[in-house]
Symmetry: C4
Subunit: 206 residues, 4 copies
């Protein structure tokens, strides 16, 4: 059976992914509009620009989040030497969510105090973490990792990190129905919990 499975190089997977990441990162730039002012309204230019601050922040936040995902994707595929058809499909699913991230991020920026301003963002993050964990696990299980020792350690750390992030974001969804701000406070955990878990994993396996 083993030799029947098709193996693909990762060049095109990476090329398509980098294209989708580049588009997703820059998508919210389109929302930045040059104000259309005539001669006697020119003094309103600073006020008009200040009125767009929400759009600037949404752009920066969205770029930051997708940038982090690109770093995670880069870290993952640094350790993957070949892809099978299933991994290509998981990656397509990941890209489908990545490309949509500017939308819930912008929702969060505009309606962060509302339940439904927080839930779509948290749901997208859960999905992304599930997919990253699944890809690490799949690559580990099917011998797609490049280097046995270092890559296996990285796979464990990667899965642990994704599970930790995923659990925190998942837990924040019911909380958002009680109080959207509470859900966002929970996300502050993300600054410490994952590192704890990663450290535990590294201690046990290292």
């Amino acid at each position: 059976m083993v030799e029947r499975v098709l193996r693909y190089g990762t060049e095109r997977l990476n090329a398509l992914s980098d294209g989708v990441f580049a588009i997703a990162m820059t998508l919210l730039v389109i929302d930045l509009k040059v104000p259309d002012l005539s001669g006697d309204e020119l003094s309103r230019l600073p006020a008009e620009l200040r009125g767009q601050v929400g759009s600037y922040l949404a752009y920066a936040l969205s770029f930051y989040v997708i940038g982090q995902m690109w770093l995670a994707h880069h870290r993952l595929f640094r350790h993957i030497g070949a892809a099978d058809a299933r991994l290509l499909r998981m990656n397509l699913l990941l890209l489908m969510v990545i490309a949509v991230v500017p939308f819930p991020t912008s929702l969060l920026g505009h309606y962060g105090g509302q339940t439904w301003g927080v839930v779509p963002y948290a749901a997208a993050m859960v999905l992304l973490q599930v997919l990253f964990a699944a890809m690490w696990w799949w690559a580990h299980r099917h011998g797609l990792l490049v280097d046995a020792v270092e890559s296996r350690r990285e796979a464990r750390a990667g899965i642990a990190r994704s599970v930790a992030f995923g659990v925190v974001f998942a837990a924040s969804i019911p909380l958002a129905f009680v109080d959207p701000d509470l859900a966002k406070y929970l996300w502050l955990l993300l600054a410490i919990v994952p590192w704890l878990i990663v450290r535990l994993v590294r201690r046990r396996t290292g």
Copy 2:
């Protein structure tokens, strides 16, 4: 004559294709809009988001269809070692249809019960399958495949698969003028028929 024909590597063909695929996949993200609600309308946020469900589905469907086409393209060019000018042109024609797929897919999502909601999608699929079959056949005929034995088998399977898909989609077009739903039921055949044909081809040639 043979040595007069220019051969191109497939790097730039793949790079251009991945760029067009990435753009086509993400095109319908632009349709997802953050609602613009003022203070006292905030309670309408969930309803506004629910009202966009059609756009979400159109995006997911379009991404899925183009993702499948990318997988088919990847499978094809895994077996192609070099391109001639004619293959470059066929690939450009394929990309022209790929980039347009979000439009008939969105039509299908919004007007799936209408004849002209179904016909453009079926027509685009016929075109894509004809082009895939033509490219497999051309590469096979002009010695552009990398590996004689495995690639020739894959070429036969690829052509058979494309012909089967193309025939089903072509047959659904006249049906759509009788009853658009009937046309869509016919597409369910695609879940079984092609595999049958591919299996037959593999048995005969394998």
Copy 3:
């Protein structure tokens, strides 16, 4: 002096170019809009779609023209082994015009009977041909071509082809002020003249 000149590989030049070509090719897809019809207007769907025929043709024409330019670019850089700073700049200028081609092409599609529907398209084509000729010539003069014999012959053919196309398009601009249709008839020459010239060049140098 010679060894002071920086040489660049052409990978990034090609990557950036393929990205810009992909965006330019797909730009007019954005103009295709799914009609927004409510329940009792559904019978107007075919008419609405037919009303967009101009946009479909503009998309196809623009894709075709930029596809031809991509083929010319691919042909050029197949023979170029390295780039200097000047060639990078010429290529950037070329990309600036390439990205803008959908605009005059769409103008031509909509106002082909007007002087100013024809002139911007002809002017863009003149610019592109001048740039292609200049890049072939520069690469030839500064030893950036990969293979002395074959590449030099290709350079001559490439310059001759670009000059022929450029002259025909340039001549059509004053004609368009007399009669826009006359200008377009002149373009029919492009189907035969350049091949004549290329053949002459090949005979003299081959």
Copy 4:
């Protein structure tokens, strides 16, 4: 400690960057619109096109500025053999600013006589120069440059050039609050000062 630091190849960094550069360069093409004129308004076509001259100039200026940044990025990564996580992050930050450049450039094109038409552009340029200088410095400090002698000289020249540009743009910001035109006159210095500095650096280190 040294061997714990992860090193990444620069292929994906360059691929993502070229994608973002391509999108940023072509972003303002979307502003060019084919006028929508009916039969008896056709004579207004030249006037309508002339009315868009501001958009043409904004596109050309934005393409030129981002093209220069691409050349600087290309020059930088020609000398970088590997990236660490910090350099990836700096590059993401750079791309975030690059993608946004069409917006302040278009502001400058439309409101160049206003303080707030000039300040965003100058601020973006300061940021970009700071980031370029930081990346040269980081790569130099952490042994990411490919060739000890030539690259170190280039690093010094690159930092000096960025600092010179950055200082001039930074100085123009307070000036713009006095007189926006004065700020733009200051930019003319950029045509001579940096070359002086670069020459000084080269003399001292060469």
